[in-house]
């Protein structure tokens, strides 16, 4: 354990315990409060009419026939709100000259993707509202769709936003070191320059709870309460204030129980904004609930990149340089951090490796498709996929074992802290330990033997071994770093600790959970820090009225940033209580020791006060020390000094049936290092769940469009979210290398599984087929694609 970790007050009784979660009670009994479950008096239901075309001009729209339908109170088109609806914000202008076209909540003149909202109906119930949509009269003049990223950049391509004169959103370039020199050296010395193109298909995040919003106005006071299935109640309030003109203090945003997010509820969405405008216009509460089909059209998609990779290395396999050129699909509009997602990956392409030079560039492109934005991992899974695929490919080219190639190039544990070529400082890590443990659990040598045997006998079922050794950056991010990247927000988190007279504790956090288990893990931290029972701690979050300040939950930041704020606030409570305890015990502050919930006079341990006694005495305030206010409550705002860098070694054995193309994951070993663990049960849950999502990208999921730009994966019948039989059992283990940049030594684990798993699975499939001449299979690696890859390579070699 590091010195820092020991600095946590009190003995660690709760931290590290496998606590079953507090939040489960209401979730397993149905006593939940999802946004769609909220009822308020006089509630009206809103339904949204969406464009059936990918790209068209609206030549006529008449909502009035909808008003004749039973139960309908109002109907509006974009024109009705043209003056007040503003533009949905993008907080990340990644370059100074980035093109940022308007993103009106309701389209006014033109629709730019199938699913773009064009009108709303407000009725007494959801059936009437949905029925009345079909009465709206609307004429479209079709415009050409823009679907292919490279064609979109060609001269004369049809334009998504004709005013821009181009489909290019931005060009971002980040060179580090002299890549050309690294490349020249590789060539001069008989090394290798390897080029690859990898494709990141679009994904539909598929949180099981679709989005929903309820807006309750107090019209006379100009006040609004907005309940939303959102990850970001605090940011949402700010964005609503900035776009609707309702002053911030007149908006209360509540995120009730939220059924998963994975980045897809990290936005100000059109429907949230429109619901507020409608509630304001009508002076009535309004609810909108997304159907799954709407969710697939109108909630952001993830990934969507072409990755051109060039690796320069010596003949012996030492990495000299890496060049990454991306084309990234923005979709039709820029949502909150659309253009920045590839940049979150920019720092991660070098992964765990040392090299002399790195050159990253990315071109953002508009298409007539659903906007993209952050989806679990946001940029980092893409980066990890490319570098880990490339390492396996390079090992093959050089005839080196892929584990050995990685060993040769990774940052050794004694080299931390390490300044990477991409400009990050990795504070800690031990790739050797995690990898050795993974190899041991996996039985690497034995599987390699079996692989050779199957190849020798031409077994129709071939065995492949896939490797992915990743690191990632969590805790997005130190505010100054975000500033230097032109991001329009900070990276701190807020906490406040309220000591109730009976010794119970209320903890306000600015993080906003939606499945992660913050109530449990944060209670464990507080229980240790204050020496109070776990059950005496209650978390308050997700309501701007009771947790007024915060930056919410994404980027695996809640523990690594929010948890530290809580730790610091607890420390301040103890310092205040120490003064009161000293007074009560008639000793000097400096003679008071605190541990396990009790203040004792140094050298006279029988002279003691529990924290509960001190809290009550402070509440009564009959006998306070001179000049000390009668309150132990404290708050803290923590801004991290660095990212945290979890890492892990994932190994996959896949059996690929060369006759059917079917892949069966035979074993999956994941050894992850997320630093100090607060609750192993929760960590393991995050790891397995994350792996399932990353594996789904590798094997099952893809957002697909037809030639007209219609989403053809627009329902859960067409988009293959894996079910229980589609996901293998995962063997998990952990190494624990504490972060040195925060007092808990924690790193974050929310996205790690997703980041590590995708390349491990695809590498395994390719490894099974290399001897047949296959060196790539596009994701998702469906049986058909795998089968075709085998056929094509055998045709090529024939």
């Amino acid at each position: 354990m590091t010195e820092q970790a020991q600095a946590t007050p009190g003995a660690a009784k709760e931290i590290g315990a496998r606590r079953a979660r507090k939040e489960d009670a209401r979730l397993i009994t149905g006593q939940t409060r999802w946004t769609d479950s909220i009822q308020v008096p006089g509630l009206l239901q809103m339904a949204v009419l969406r464009s059936p075309m990918a790209h068209a001009r609206i030549t006529r729209i008449d909502v009035s026939p909808a008003l004749d339908r039973p139960g309908v109170l109002a109907a509006f088109s974009g024109r009705d709100f043209a003056d007040e609806q503003g533009s949905l914000p993008c907080a990340w202008p990644v370059t100074e000259d980035m093109a940022q076209p308007p993103n009106p909540p309701l389209a006014v003149d033109e629709v730019r993707y199938a699913g773009d909202a064009v009108a709303v109906v407000v009725a007494r119930d959801r059936y009437s509202a949905a029925d009345a949509l079909e009465a709206i009269e609307i004429d479209y003049e079709p415009l050409p769709p823009v679907l292919d990223l490279e064609e979109a950049l060609a001269d004369g391509a049809p334009l998504v936003h004709s005013d821009l004169g181009t489909n290019k959103c931005y060009d971002f370039h980040m060179p580090a070191g002299d890549y050309q020199a690294a490349r020249d050296r590789a060539q001069a010395e008989g090394g290798i320059v390897m080029k690859r193109r990898y494709l990141q298909q679009r994904l539909q995040p598929s949180a099981m709870e679709p989005r929903a919003v309820v807006v309750e106005p107090i019209a006379a006071a100009g006040e609004f309460t907005l309940y939303s299935a959102t990850q970001i109640p605090h940011i949402l309030r700010l964005l609503l204030a900035m776009t609707t003109g309702v002053p911030e203090h007149k908006i209360r945003v509540v995120a009730p129980d939220v059924g998963g997010g994975f980045g897809s509820k990290l936005n100000l969405y059109a429907e949230e904004s429109i619901a507020l405008l409608v509630a304001r216009r009508l002076g009535r509460p309004v609810k909108w609930t997304e159907s799954r089909s709407e969710n697939y059209q109108a909630t952001i998609h993830g990934r969507g990149q072409i990755q051109d990779i060039e690796v320069a290395a010596t003949r012996e396999g030492r990495l000299l340089g890496l060049k990454v050129s991306l084309v990234a699909d923005m979709g039709a509009y820029l949502q909150l951090i659309t253009p920045g997602v590839p940049l979150l990956g920019a720092f991660m392409y070098p992964g765990i490796y040392k090299m002399d030079a790195y050159d990253f560039s990315c071109t953002g492109v508009f298409t007539t498709k659903t906007p993209t934005d952050a989806y679990r991992g946001a940029g980092r899974p893409e980066a990890t996929y490319a570098i880990e695929r490339a390492m396996d490919d390079l090992a093959q080219e050089l005839g080196i074992d892929p584990i050995e190639l990685r060993r040769q190039n990774w940052i050794r544990h004694e080299e931390f802290p390490f300044d990477t070529i991409a400009g990050l400082t990795y504070d800690s890590g031990n790739y050797e330990a995690a990898t050795d443990e993974a190899l041991r659990l996996f039985g690497y040598e034995e599987l390699r033997r079996e692989q050779a045997e199957r190849r020798d006998r031409g077994d129709p079922v071939q065995l492949g071994i896939g490797i992915s050794i990743y690191t990632e950056m969590c805790g997005i991010a130190p505010s100054r770093v975000l500033g230097s990247l032109s991001f329009g927000g900070g990276g701190w988190e807020y906490a406040s600790v309220r000591m109730l007279p009976t010794g119970k504790v209320e903890v306000v956090t600015g993080a906003s959970p939606h499945g992660q288990g913050h109530d449990t893990t944060f209670s464990q931290i507080v229980a240790d820090a204050l020496g109070v029972p776990f059950d005496d701690v209650e978390l308050i979050h997700g309501d701007t009225k009771s947790s007024h300040k915060g930056l919410d939950t994404y980027g695996s930041r809640s523990l690594a940033v929010g948890g530290i704020a809580i730790t610091q606030a607890c420390g301040r409570v103890i310092e205040k209580a120490r003064k009161v305890a000293a007074h009560l015990l008639e000793a000097a502050d400096t003679d008071i020791e605190f541990s396990g919930g009790t203040f004792r006079v140094r050298g006279a341990p029988e002279s003691a006060k529990t924290i509960q006694e001190v809290v009550l005495a402070t509440h009564l305030a009959h006998d306070m020390p001179e000049g000390v206010e009668p309150s132990l409550d404290a708050d803290a705002t923590f801004d991290p000094e660095n990212f945290s860098f979890p890492h892990g070694s994932h190994l996959v054995a896949a059996e690929v049936d060369t006759q059917t193309g079917f892949t069966k994951i035979r074993s999956y070993v994941a050894v992850d290092d997320c630093g100090r663990v607060i609750n192993p049960l929760v960590v393991e849950g995050q790891v397995v769940g994350g792996i399932a999502q990353g594996l789904a990208q590798a094997l099952y999921e893809e957002a697909t469009y037809d030639a007209d730009g219609n989403l053809t994966s627009g329902t859960l019948a067409d988009y293959l979210v894996p079910a229980a039989p589609d996901v293998p059992e995962i063997t998990m283990a952990r190494t624990e290398t504490p972060a040195t940049t925060n007092p808990l030594g924690v790193k974050g684990i929310g996205e790690a599984g997703t980041i590590g798993s995708t390349p491990a699975v695809v590498n395994a499939i390719v490894d099974a087929l290399r001897h047949l001449g296959v060196d790539d299979v596009d994701m998702p690696c469906t049986p058909e694609r795998v089968w075709r890859a085998i056929q094509e390579s055998s045709a090529a070699s024939a």
């Binding site: 099981m208 709870e209 079910a723």
Partner: protein, 167 residues
């Protein structure tokens, strides 16, 4: 409008409903039984699963009128006499939920699974829950929870079943 009489979690309700009203909307919007959530519009996700006369059904694929005369158990009525059902307990103990949105349906589908097969293998559990999607957990802990509940339920059945009792 047809009149229906449905017993939901032990209480009988009589209502005149539109023929097209889905059972899940009847539960949620009419009866305030909002413990049963909706996750899709193509009957794929299973979030809306309830027990109808003891068998699990996706309540988004049943019309309210089809439930006339039947007895429906939702997640809100699963605990009996203030005691959580063993499946609820084991979901908690095995950390078989994260956001919890799939959980009501998953728990009810799993109880139905054990009714047909009181001692399923892991593969049988996975296959049996194929109609219920979870985006958070990766299913591993759900499988464990069902296994654990199966063991507990077999044990307690053995303890109360006189035929099994040892003399």
């Amino acid at each position: 409008m047809p009149r229906i009489s449905v017993k939901v979690d032990g209480v009988t309700y009589d209502d005149d409903v539109e023929p097209r009203l889905l059972l899940v909307h009847y539960l949620r919007d009419w009866l305030g039984k909002v413990g049963t959530p909706i996750g899709c519009d193509t009957t794929n996700c299973g979030a809306c699963t309830v027990l109808m006369d003891g068998s699990s059904v996706k309540s988004c694929s049943v019309l309210a009128v089809q439930a006339d005369g039947s007895e429906v158990t939702t997640i809100e009525g699963l605990a009996a006499d203030g005691q959580m059902h063993p499946m609820q307990k084991s979901f908690h103990e095995e950390h078989a939920l994260q956001c919890g949105y799939c959980t009501p349906g998953m728990i009810l589908a799993a109880t139905d699974l054990l009714r047909d097969n009181p001692n399923p293998s892991d593969d049988e559990i996975r296959d049996g829950l194929e109609g219920n999607l979870c985006r958070c957990t990766g299913y591993q802990n759900i499988v464990r929870a069902v296994r654990r509940a199966a063991a507990e339920m077999t044990e307690s059945a053995a303890a109360t079943d006189p035929k099994e009792a040892r003399v």
